[in-house]
């Protein structure tokens, strides 16, 4: 069965004759929406975005229009817009494609958003590893500035705003919005405590600030183009617009695929769109929203009630790919990074790999995350190194429970959810590992098995 993609944001991505310079962008109708936007009342744009129901594409899925509403406009302080292009969630690679192949779409979306919230200045915080993306953006911004799409008195509207591109120095935590702001201000990227430091009131330089994901800001352009109501018709109520799914792992055709929310099921995405698994392999598990999302086991069944009251009874392959359905299944759509694991995957090693990442990336500010996550890494690393104990599964679960919900930022959850879900769903493998090693030890054989763990 063929599933037609709905390419809204990736409309021009991968087109052979499409280049990322401004001439090509304008030729394809670019910056018309900015012209339209600056002719509108800023409040009207905010209303359109609210009506569109667009939810943040960075991970949390919070309605962007609502976020904008929280802006403290009475403080008299300047308002800042920050584009979060840190794209650091393992398994996610959509923002990179937008920046590389269609940077002007992002700039146009940003200027529309900046105008809507009347930002004094806009920033793009791009991860340090995206050096090429940074150069592309700098060039694109220069092109746009020359054509007065940004800078002083944009298109004669009287509104002025510029974009500053700021490169990160390679830290996952800079994707957390308050950590990002700290980093942007030139400090260590230690996330701020909330309350009181909600960015909408006390963000960059203690001024009201909006931080949106690259994809979300691109959506703003399309909302202005088609109107909030038309945008809200894409997908399902509460899950509007398209989403770019970045599929990686044990599939035949990994890559990025854009569909309306709930436009495909997880099974269709894996087996039809991505060409299924390698021959002879069976699906074992899927992480549907970047490595911090809870893992789904292939033979699980999900039953419950959706927000609108309808009952559902799904296998993994039946889950519609949208925000609410994945949440109803106990995981999340997150940043759209779908990681597929087949039956060759050793779940202990997979978790060890994830733990290694989060232990490395913990900023170290607050205790549970700083101490707990490296502890989990040490436990899983030890298990892989041939010293697994049967009680380690429960220990890991307990450590994760002591972290989640008790940290300054959502990193605590991001690092705990994989552990909690891996143990909950694959506990037998963790115990089995210990037993196998014990048996090997009894036989006088080495228990350490070579792994590809980085």
């Amino acid at each position: 069965m063929e599933h037609q993609q709905y390419r809204l944001i990736f409309k021009h991505v991968d087109q052979p004759d499409y280049s990322n310079d401004i001439e090509c962008y304008i030729k394809n109708g670019g910056y018309e929406d900015l012209k339209k936007a600056v002719g509108m009342q800023p409040e009207a744009i905010c209303q359109e975005v609210l009506d569109s129901g667009v939810r943040g594409r960075g991970g949390a899925g919070f309605p962007a229009g609502m976020k904008w509403k929280f802006l403290d406009r009475k403080s008299g302080k300047p308002i800042y817009l920050i584009c979060n292009a840190d794209e650091s969630e393992p398994g996610t690679f959509k923002d990179r494609q937008i920046i590389h192949q269609d940077p002007h779409q992002l700039i146009e979306g940003m200027m529309c958003a900046a105008y809507a919230i009347q930002a004094k200045l806009a920033f793009i915080y791009i991860r340090g590893e995206f050096y090429e993306g940074y150069q592309i953006l700098e060039r694109a911004i220069e092109e746009a500035r020359n054509k007065n799409f940004l800078g002083d008195d944009i298109l004669g509207s009287g509104y002025s705003c510029d974009i500053i591109v700021h490169r990160g120095a390679g830290a996952y935590i800079c994707g957390e919005e308050t950590g990002l702001i700290e980093s942007l201000e030139g400090k260590r990227a230690n996330p701020r405590i909330k309350p009181p430091y909600f960015p909408a009131a006390l963000g960059a330089y203690q001024c009201p600030t909006i931080v949106n994901n690259v994809e979300t800001l691109c959506d703003v352009k399309h909302i202005i183009h088609m109107g909030g109501e038309a945008f809200s018709k894409i997908g399902t109520p509460g899950n509007t617009g398209t989403r770019i799914w970045c599929v990686s792992g044990h599939v035949q055709k990994p890559g990025y695929y854009e569909f309306p929310c709930a436009g495909v099921t997880l099974g269709q995405l894996i087996f039809d769109v991505c060409g299924g698994l390698k021959p002879g392999r069976k699906l074992k598990a899927v992480i549907p929203g970047g490595s911090s999302a809870k893992v789904l086991r292939a033979d699980e069944r999900f039953k419950g009630k959706l927000k609108d009251g309808t009952d559902f009874d799904w296998g993994v392959e039946d889950i519609p790919m949208d925000f609410d359905s994945l949440m109803a299944c106990g995981s999340m759509s997150g940043s759209g990074g779908v990681i597929v694991m087949d039956d060759t995957t050793d779940m202990v090693e997979a978790l060890a790999n994830i733990n290694y990442f989060y232990a490395h990336e913990s900023c170290g500010q607050c205790t549970p995350c700083r101490e707990g996550v490296p502890w989990m890494r040490k436990v899983t690393a030890r298990m892989c190194a041939g010293q697994a104990r049967e009680e380690d599964a429960d220990l890991l679960m307990n450590i994760a429970d002591q972290i989640a919900g008790r940290t300054i930022c959502a990193f605590g959850e991001a690092a705990s959810w994989p552990v909690q879900s891996f143990i909950e769903k694959f506990k037998d493998e963790f115990i089995q590992k210990a037993r196998e090693q014990a048996a090997l030890r009894n036989d006088g054989k080495p228990t350490k098995i070579e792994t590809t763990l980085i």
């Binding site: 405590i193 990336e361 900023c363 170290g364 607050c366 205790t367 700083r370 040490k378 972290i403 300054i408």
Partner: protein, 572 residues
Amino acid sequence: MSIPDTVETIAINIDGVDVQVPKGINAIEAAKLHGKEVPHYCYHPKLSIAGNCRMCLIEMGMPMRDRATGDPVMDTNGEQKIGWSPKPTIGCSTNVSPGMHLRTNSTMVKEARNGVTEFLLINHPLDCPICDQAGECRLQEFSADHGRGVSRFIEDKNVKPKRTRLGPRVTLDDERCILCSRCIRFSQEVAKDDVLGFVDRGTYSTLTCYPGKELANNYSLNTVDICPVGALTSTDFRFKMRVWFLKRTNSICTESSVGSNTTVWSREGKIYRITPRQNDATNDTWMTDSGRGLFKETESENRINDYTIDGVSEDMEIVAQTAADLLQQGKVALVGSAHNSVEEQFYLKKISEYASASTNIIAKTGDGDGILLSEDRTPNLRGALLNRLITELPNAAADSIDSQIQSGAIQTLFVVNEDLTSLGISQESLAKVSIIYFGSLANQTSKVATVVIPTLTVFEKSGSLVNQNFILQQFLPAIPGPKGVISDVLMLAKIVEKMTGDTIEPVTLTMIWQELSNTIAEFKSITWQKIGDEQGIQINPRAFLDLPFVESKNLKFDPTAFKEANSTALES
């Protein structure tokens, strides 16, 4: 603890009990007011909120209201439902608001605390047996209260440097550091010397100084005080003494007119360290490093231990009589000191009256740092003024004394702990007069003195001092003075007795304060007992407001505001 009537209070509920707390304080302080401890490491009442230790996690709930109508949501008992936050919240950054409900000891809170405690301990070296902080360590205390007693951690602990020199007085044991950032915030916010910071990430985060700088400011040892664990240690105190052996005595720092409240830690007649004692009117919870070192004076090689006449040890009665005789011969000048206590100055004033002496004090000034070191480097100039020992501010020179010696107007000098030669009076001049030297340290003046009377340091006697804000504060003896040396007040009283022939019995500070409160208007109804009971008594400064005091604005003193506040009080 009671809340003053002037503070606006709100009603909140802590662990099921409705209580009143001051508006705007945080949950830790609110709970503390009602006898509930919310354990915490990174929170410090005098520093900004960091919220990083996560030890003070509590449950917080607010009365529920209907989102649409705004009406209160009631439960079946007709009481407003409480919407509890699903996750625990940190007490340090939760400011109380009307109707707020707090749970400081629920299952969720206990689990959170136990979790944080376990996390803090997994990489902790657990070297309490050799750690200076043992006995006053928050981690040790809370581990006893909230720890599991056994470790589930079988992995290798992180290894970090054990003795990093952060500055001349502070040594860091990195393995013990729990990264609470108190020291960093203190350096930024109070000491205004932003040299500390973390480098590296996650569990490898390390406290360090900015490259090329060191923690050398005059407040560096406060970081040791506020360190909740044994990470920052005083290089001077390190490995010297277990804190539980030390006796604590309330004292006042005599370094400058700020009058920081201090605790002197001593054992068997030896002082080991001085730490600040909280007093929000004088020094918050801080003091200078330089003030902490003043106790070394008690062990000085220059210490005078004997009563002597012409260099020969004599019985103190004879010495007192000789001094009295000299003083009664007339043409006496008294060089008093703003280092003396109010009580000593009271007797100096009597001596000066009975001897018809001219009275001087030598001003001691230096640069102020705008924090807790004021320009006036004496602790009790205001006391001398209140005693009317002097009526004008002293100057730093002794020229008039010198010229009066030359002219023969002075024949006897009563010198309190002052080296006149350092003030430009030559040895030849001093040879022309009889000197009674009253002091603790030997100097060029004491060497040529006829009568030498040893005195005690502030650590060896009791008394009171009046600081820059005219706050009267008490200090008590931490250690005994040199053998056979009686207190300054007793000796001065003895000299007065010998001069007048009256017997003053018994000379106690209580008795002196009865007389002080009767004779000096500003001291009316003050007793020695009361100075101790109340942490400082505000003295009426009106009679002295027009004097050009040298102190400029510092942490707790603003000359303009002080003058304004007290003159308006006069008008009203």
